[in-house]
């Protein structure tokens, strides 16, 4: 990309070119060897110059008869700013614009400099090389994650195409969801937007391009036959319509893959000039144009997708922090002189279907652990509803059985029935009475101080599957030193590189052997053992633990 300042010059024929300001003193005038040679009798031989001093460009009047102007103001010697319009007195058919150095968008145009100038046919090979810059530009933006709206890319593509082909106007139409083409961007050769209503295009040409999936060039004269009537009526003289493609690598059986083309839309160029350059544009140049324009659009699409992906990731991050905030953490986990509690949940994706809740209420302390079947967002949404129902029910004074029955009804009525929830739901009284319901959940481990191990299981149905399910409470008396270890199946089903599961037995032994440790230590120990076991294997399910230790 060019990093020097330059001038965009459009002459009286509407031909654009970009002239880099490479010399410290850049002369402008009618003299043939001027750096910018202006062919107009109203311009002095030595009209003016642009002087570069310390990186600043000054426009200087060299004693011209008709004067020199910046944005309509006559000047003697004035510093130029980016996009300033320069006029030479009496030669207002020339449009000159100053483009400062390091102006990326302007640089992009300048790299396509002069391709359409009427000074002779350019080799298609050179044209192709220049054209590639457009696709590269988008690639660079992509690489550096610069924001580049898809419409900006379309504008760049149309401008470049108009310039390369020497057309007067160009437009891009893209396919929407259906097969119909939607107007996107139209530009003229002075880089102005053209309104859709002002761009009467030949529908016949567009139809032909869509039908034949190839570039169509029409040169029309008043003597053309009936078929060209619609073009003639539009008083167009030359039309080039180019199909734009998305190129898809398609893997086939074996090692080879093929490049498939999918029609994205059309690039339409026209020129009303009688001796327009369009008719002289050679076919290889057009092929290049079609390919590079398609590539630029594809790059823009990929960039857009990448940005969309990042946006989604930010949303997931936010969802995760919302979900994490819903779980009690060390700050608000209830503690008492009768027991210790520790808990943790590790979703395998951003958000998960596991959750726990610990609440100190008048009737005792609530310990709940739920696992919504499935993973990710869909499971997390149902998990949030369930957590809300459970909390509201407990605050209203419901028993674990009533909470289970209500939640079952809510989920049966309000979910797609392919999902269910397993739940262990309990209330611990200060007297050590532990009332619990196990709704289809992995049985928690009760490791008694005496060394016995019990599994808290009743084979009650999961929640949300059947409206007829009923739940009843089991009461267990806990004694000082007893440990209740509640967990989700992500713990026991954690899988290592050899496809072995952590398993119930390993977990039971671990809890039993460490029953004399604190709740926090037991929770941390199991978590680190599970992660060590699966070392290097991505977590396949949400992992959640609640550890209770009686004092």
């Amino acid at each position: 990309m060019q990093s020097t300042a330059c001038l965009h010059v459009t002459d009286s024929f509407g031909i654009r070119r970009t002239v880099p300001l490479l010399k410290p003193v850049f002369t402008i005038g009618r003299k043939v060897d001027s750096d910018l040679h202006i062919m107009s009798t109203t311009v002095s031989r030595d009209h003016g110059e642009i002087v570069c001093e310390n990186g600043i460009y000054y426009l200087v009047d060299k004693g011209s008869k008709s004067g020199i102007f910046i944005n309509g103001q006559r000047v003697e010697r004035t510093a130029l700013s980016n996009l300033d319009r320069i006029t030479l007195g009496g030669a207002d058919e020339y449009q000159i614009q100053f483009i400062a150095a390091n102006n990326q968008q302007a640089d992009q145009f300048s790299s396509i400099d002069g391709l359409s100038s009427g000074e002779g046919q350019l080799a298609a090979a050179t044209a192709k090389e220049k054209l590639k810059n457009l696709a590269r530009y988008v690639e660079i933006n992509q690489a550096f994650k610069f924001s580049l709206a898809p419409d900006d890319v379309l504008t760049l593509v149309v401008d470049a195409a108009v310039e390369l082909a020497g057309a007067e106007r160009g437009l891009i139409m893209l396919k929407g969801d259906g097969d119909s083409l939607a107007f996107k961007v139209a530009r003229d050769n002075r880089r102005n937007n053209v309104e859709q209503r002002d761009f009467a295009l030949s529908t016949r040409v567009v139809r032909q391009v869509l039908a034949e999936n190839r570039t169509v060039i029409l040169n029309t004269t008043p003597g053309d036959d009936q078929q060209m009537q619609s073009v003639y009526n539009l008083s167009l003289h030359t039309v080039i319509c180019i199909p734009l493609h998305q190129f898809l690598m398609q893997a086939t059986v074996g090692v080879t893959s093929t490049l498939q083309r999918k029609l994205l839309g059309i690039l339409y160029l026209d020129s009303r000039r009688e001796t327009g350059h369009l008719s002289q544009t050679n076919s290889r140049l057009l092929d290049s144009l079609a390919f590079e324009a398609s590539k630029a659009l594809e790059n823009a699409r990929l960039l857009h997708e990448e940005q969309e992906k990042q946006r989604l990731e930010r949303e997931f991050e936010m969802a995760r922090s919302v979900q994490v905030a819903l779980l009690p953490t060390s700050d608000n986990i209830p503690q008492s002189k009768h027991f210790e509690l520790a808990a943790q949940s590790l979703p395998c994706r951003y958000v998960g279907g596991d959750f726990y809740d610990l609440m100190a209420l008048q009737g005792g302390t609530v310990l709940t652990l739920c696992d919504v079947s499935g993973k990710g967002i869909s499971a997390a949404l149902l998990a949030s509803v369930a957590q809300g129902v459970i909390e509201a029910q407990f605050y209203a004074g419901a028993s674990p059985a009533e909470v289970s029955t209500t939640l079952n009804r809510v989920v049966v009525n309000r979910s797609d029935a392919n999902r269910f929830i397993t739940m262990f739901c309990s209330v611990l009284g200060d007297d050590g009475n532990f009332s619990w319901v196990n709704a289809g959940h992995n049985p928690p481990i009760l490791a008694r101080q005496t060394g016995e191990v019990e599994m808290l299981s009743t084979s009650s149905l999961v929640l949300g599957a059947f409206d007829f399910a009923e739940y009843c409470v089991t009461n267990t008396r806990l004694s000082p030193g007893d440990v209740v270890f509640i967990f989700s199946d992500g713990v026991t089903e954690a899988t290592n590189g050899s496809d072995q599961m952590f398993g119930d037995e390993r977990l039971q032994n671990l809890v039993q052997r460490n029953k004399d440790r604190s709740a926090q230590e037991i929770k941390d120990l199991v978590m680190s053992e599970v992660l060590a076991f699966t070392h290097g294997v991505p977590q396949g399910d949400d992992i959640t633990i609640v550890a209770l230790k009686m004092k």
Binding site: D371, S373, G374, K375, A417, N418, R419, F420, T422, A439, G440, H441, N442, P443, S457, S459, S460, L461, V462, A465, F466, A469, D489, E493, D541
Partner: protein, 111 residues
């Protein structure tokens, strides 16, 4: 996971081959059951003998199939659940809902 269909009288046997886990497998079982119910095949026996792995989503697809069939006056029963499947059905309380069989002839005759 593949699903092959066989008919024994008015009973359709679905021979499952592969893991019944989250994603395509549970989805295809549900869809297949819906198709069968739509064509008035209401007595379905799901053969789990060749299902080495089953997870909660897989169980979910069995539950959905069961409910769907029941709502249309049909029945879904299970044939030869593996040890893992039995364990999961037991934990989730679903053994009380699903009729399970180790013998195909007995299963077919039970409808």
């Amino acid at each position: 996971m593949d699903i092959n269909l066989r008919s024994e009288g008015n009973v359709t046997i679905l021979d499952l081959q592969g893991n019944l886990t989250i994603g395509a497998a549970e989805e295809s079982l549900r869809q297949r059951v819906e198709q069968l119910l739509a064509t008035d095949k209401k007595y379905l026996l799901v053969n789990l003998a060749n299902v080495p792995m089953i997870d909660s989503s897989g169980i979910g697809s069995l539950v959905k199939s069961f409910t769907h069939a029941k709502n249309q006056g049909g029945k879904v029963k299970l044939l030869k659940p593996t040890k893992l499947a039995q364990q999961l059905l037991s934990i989730t309380g679903l053994l009380s809902v699903f009729e399970t069989f180790d013998d195909e002839a007995t299963a077919v005759a039970s409808f």
